[in-house]
């Protein structure tokens, strides 16, 4: 079965490879990013940050800093107590207080302890250097498993053994969201599955801590106008409306008195939501009566932009000898760092929901323990809990295949959820919308030339080369919603205004930061109205422009935001139809929109512009109709979408050095209906790169004192274009039944699927040396030691 040649059904524009209209300005340096925002009288903020991972602040001496040129304000955490609210967290579970600037205790390297506002950025930094902080060291907690014993120290009062959350989910647990009470769990089914298993796979696996590494660091510009009063704040946030809500409350304002603008952004990847620095900038703007700017530098970004992953999994798989998986059990320990940020506690809980992968596993149980350590807090990063799940499942499937001597493709095939089983509720609790997994697997095998690859590998091995093939079959959870599923609202908002000249201004609450909404959403509306995308402008990223919004997160923009726009468009279209029917003396059912015209097939037609113009100056209003063509809609999906795909990686390991060369990367993705294949490919390419990075080189490492060793791009290796092969990609299209577009989302797919494919390939390459498992990142020395161990 070949991949689908026509990537997408749809109208004239949906399915076209339109170049992103965002790009000409961005590649010419004409975009407005946060650091381009400059206001008259603007002051600059810089932070004094702890260089100790854990300790009590004894003294902060700001006297020298206060006397330095250009300095307007120096403040410590103690000075700001009561002035600033704590950093916001969205979670139903208890969490420790997280001051934006700590007054008493430091809990990670990089935590703000004091700040300076000065007339320029250099003066601010000079003064920061002059602040002297005396800290009484406490033992640093850096290892999650040790921390669980409460050793060597406790981070927060009220959190015994440093445990933030312990939650048991899946088979035998009545509550869909899991339980914190081990006594309430029924273990009979799980125990029976493992007792009767013909094969049991058990493996400890580690997902290392990684840095989102957006090309643009964070930043904020806050302008408080006291007389109105009104706060305007520019921030690198993926969620302007939530940002406004929290920032307004922080300053004692209503949401009607605050406006958040997210300018162009150089990537977010889940890490750019709401931070303490934004609160500080806003509060200081109010206090000093001047706009305040803070731009994070790269050293700060490594230390203080939320990290991700850092989950240890003990995974057990029960199976029959024919390859049928009968149960999966996981014990997950998530090192969430020193505090909770907006979704810190939530992200690891997403792992449980995907532990079924693409397979009909009847029994699934997980226990998740989230642990505080003296590191930067974790939060969402491309994949957000899902890469962990798929890594655990796909490594386990590979281990099972090896144990049984089966082709890894066949083990997967044996366990797939079959097309007729959809909608399929997994034992982990999620209901998958649609899928034809076997068709996609076959398309991937054909695209890769699986049999030839295996033959070439055998020949290479016979010649003494360490060549490995790795496969992964991933599931992505997208379009998170409805509101019962997403703690902060499972909808999105859109508005469509057909202007008097027949052009369209649309807004979306899905605030894009590189995803190409302005192009793809215009394609959707163009087909809806039978006009050209060039006549449509999409505005976003400003709470004064988009009335409401959730933001661009969780691969939900097109599915939820695109549909909301479509719904708003439908209302406008219905109204236009009434005006057109009146003008043409036709019945509304006869009116069609096509090729820039509105009219009756084979009959009278008006230009789109004529109808639009008339709607704003109607000579006779259709009954029950107001003038004008502007509507809005909120749309909440009935359930989540589950795109999927299969990746195959071929690697060769250098026997002498342990270096891994990624030779081929083949994949087929199914994200439902594709609006713009070029944008989807871009998402897949970037996603794959961000999945390969953590497989091979990306790893944040702290030493035993809680010092970050990989605090710059000189030590933290993200992949370069030259490290990557040409990706060989295809698609199948299985539309989602849950939204009118049939779209599923694709933003995180590549990242989820790529890591296990590459790790599986490296393990395969090393298998002849007796290697059964290795945790990423696969640094050359780590691989070299395995080779040495294997050869000895």
């Amino acid at each position: 079965m070949a991949a689908d040649a026509t990537p997408s059904p749809g109208g004239k524009h949906v399915g076209q490879r339109l170049k992103r209209r965002e790009d000409p300005a961005l590649i010419r340096g004409q975009g407005t990013f946060i650091d381009d925002v400059r206001l008259p009288g603007m002051l600059h903020l810089a932070f004094k940050r702890s260089d100790v991972a854990h300790g009590r602040i004894v003294r902060v001496d700001t006297s020298a800093a206060r006397a330095m040129p250009g300095v307007r304000l120096v403040a410590t955490g103690a000075d700001l107590q009561g002035v600033l609210p704590s950093v916001p967290v969205i979670t139903p579970f208890p969490y420790p207080d997280h001051p934006a600037v700590t007054p008493d205790k430091v809990r990670y390297v990089g935590e703000p302890v004091a700040l300076v506002v000065a007339e320029d950025r250099y003066q601010a930094q000079d003064a920061v250097e002059a602040i002297e902080v005396t800290i009484e060291d406490l033992p640093a907690v850096v290892d999650a498993e040790t921390a669980l014993r409460g050793e060597p120290a406790l981070l927060h009062e009220g959190f015994a053994n440093n445990v933030a959350l312990r939650i048991i989910s899946g088979t035998g647990v009545t509550e869909a969201a899991g339980t914190q009470d081990p006594e309430a769990v029924d273990n009979r089914e799980l125990d029976a599955a493992f007792e009767t298993a013909e094969v049991v796979i058990s493996q400890r696996m580690v997902n290392p801590r990684i840095a989102p590494s957006a090309i643009e660091t964070r930043g904020v510009v806050a302008q408080y106008e006291a007389t109105r009063p009104y706060l305007t704040i520019w921030s690198t946030t993926q969620r302007p409306h939530a940002h406004r809500r929290f920032l307004a409350a922080a300053l004692g304002l209503g949401e009607h008195q605050a406006r958040t603008i997210a300018p162009e952004m150089g990537g977010g990847f889940g890490a750019k939501k709401i931070y303490g620095e934004d609160f500080v900038a806003a509060a200081l703007s109010k206090q000093l009566g001047a706009p305040i700017k803070w731009i994070e530098d790269r050293s700060e970004a490594f230390l203080t932009t939320t990290h991700a992953r850092d989950v240890i999994g003990q995974i057990e798989l029960a199976a029959k000898r024919d390859g049928t998986v009968t149960a999966l059990k996981a014990r997950l320990v998530a090192d969430i760092g020193a505090y909770e940020m907006l979704l810190t506690a939530f992200i690891p809980t997403l792992t449980h929901g995907l532990l079924s992968g693409g397979y009909a596993i009847p029994v699934i149980r997980s226990e998740l323990i989230e642990v505080f350590t003296n590191k930067m807090p974790t939060d969402a990063y491309r994949g957000a809990g899902m890469p962990e799940a798929i890594f655990f499942v796909e490594r386990s499937m590979e281990l099972l295949a090896r144990e049984l001597g089966m082709d890894p493709a066949e083990v997967r095939r044996k366990n797939f959820i079959r097309p007729e089983q959809f909608p399929y509720k997994t034992a982990a609790g999620n209901e998958y919308d649609s899928g034809e997994y076997e068709r996609l697997l076959d398309a991937t095998l054909e695209l890769a030339g699986w049999e030839e690859m295996r033959a070439e590998q055998a020949a290479a091995r016979a010649a003494g080369r360490l060549v490995g093939l790795g496969m992964s079959f991933y599931i992505e959870l997208c379009a998170i919603g409805p509101s019962t599923m997403f703690p902060d609202g499972g909808w999105e908002h859109g508005s469509v205004t057909v202007e008097r000249d027949g052009r369209i201004t649309a807004t979306t609450g899905a605030s894009a930061h590189g995803q190409g909404h302005e192009t793809s959403f215009a394609q959707v509306l163009a087909d809806q109205f039978g006009i050209e995308p060039e006549t449509i402008t999409l505005l976003h990223g400003d709470t004064a422009v988009a009335k409401q919004g959730v933001g661009t997160v969780a691969s939900r923009s097109l599915v939820v935001g695109g549909t909301a726009l479509l719904m708003a468009g439908s209302k406008v279209k219905a109204k236009m139809t009434r005006f057109a029917a009146q003008l043409l003396e036709a019945r509304e059912e006869e009116i069609e929109f096509a090729n820039g015209e509105v009219g009756v097939a084979g009959g009278g037609k008006l230009s789109f512009e004529e109808v639009a113009s008339y709607a704003y100056a109607p000579q006779q209003l259709p009954a029950g109709t107001e003038p004008g063509l502007s509507e809005e809609a909120f749309w909440e999906p009935p359930g989540m979408t589950f795109p999927y795909g299969c990746y195959i990686a071929q690697v060769e390991v250098d026997r002498e050095t342990g270096e891994v060369a990624l030779q081929r990367f083949v994949g087929v993705d199914d994200c439902g209906t594709i609006v713009n294949p070029l944008i989807v490919e871009g998402q897949i390419h970037g996603g794959i790169a961000q999945g390969i990075g953590p497989a091979l080189t990306e790893e944040l490492r702290y030493d035993e004192h809680g010092q970050l060793l990989t605090g710059s791009f000189m030590d933290y290796a993200i992949p370069r274009a030259s490290d990557l092969p040409r990706f060989e990609l295809g698609v199948t299209v299985t539309p989602s039944p849950l939204n009118p577009l049939g779209a599923k989302g694709t933003g995180e797919a590549g990242t989820i699927g790529a890591t296990p494919a590459v790790v599986n390939a490296v393990v395969d390459a090393l298998s002849e040396l007796g290697v059964r498992h290795v945790d990423p990142a696969l640094h050359p020395e780590k691989v070299w030691r395995l080779i040495r161990g294997g050869e000895r």
Binding site: A46, Y122, D126, T657, E659, T710, F713, D715, H779, P780
Partner: protein, 289 residues
Amino acid sequence: MIPAAFDYRRAKTIDEALALIGETAEEARFLAGGHSLIPLMKLRFSQPDRLVDIMHVPGLAGIWERNGQVGIGATTRYVELERSRILQDVLPVVAEAAGEIGDPQVRHRGTIGGSLAHADPAADLPAVMVALDAFLDIVGPQGRRRVQAEDFFQGFFTVDLAEGELITEMRMLPRRTAAYAKLHQKASHFALVGVAAALEIEAGNGADGVCRGARVAVTGLSTHAQRLRGVEASLIGERLEEEVIRAAAERAPEGIEEVNDDLHGSAEYRREMAKVFAARAIRRAAARA
């Protein structure tokens, strides 16, 4: 990553550069591309009061062949080394090593003189200069002098360069049978270990000729670029067959003290990689015979 205040001066001649450096009692540094110095300043690890930019001094950049020698000006950028027809013809090892430095942005700004003066323990070109037995021409308040590359590199970020002195030029003999092989540190793309081998192979027999001279130098392994004398000794007088190369390369760690040991590579790994990359450099150099 906001540097402390400093004074920036741009020199138009070498004399002016020396004067600008000499006239201040504070710490002054020459700026020759800045791809090591500027990052250190942004981290405030280095806080010079004055930078004297020598990138605009005429005649300080360039590659030339004169009197049977090859000269490379101090402010010659890596990309110019990489693309030089002269080097590709008579000293391919220099072009090869330059092409493996950092990334394209670094190669378009960083300079050979800047790299040698800075003497990062993992920089590529110091090993190449030592292997080629290059001379450095140095000018300073006391006049001009020459120093052999091997003597120039003295320790961890330590070179034979007095206050106010400036490297103007590197000079070396043409040598086609020289090569550089490097294990990249995947983040910085400095050398985890890099080995430069410059061989004299008896003419007329290609790679099968007897090795009459060998200078092999390593970077990334220890505090500074150093010769691998054990390797050299095992090559001289031998035909460079695979067993000879392997046996010679095995001696790479001999005499190297203070082996680097960090999160990117343990001392044990680096020692082993010195062997691997010594063998690779020698093979590649021999293949150029």
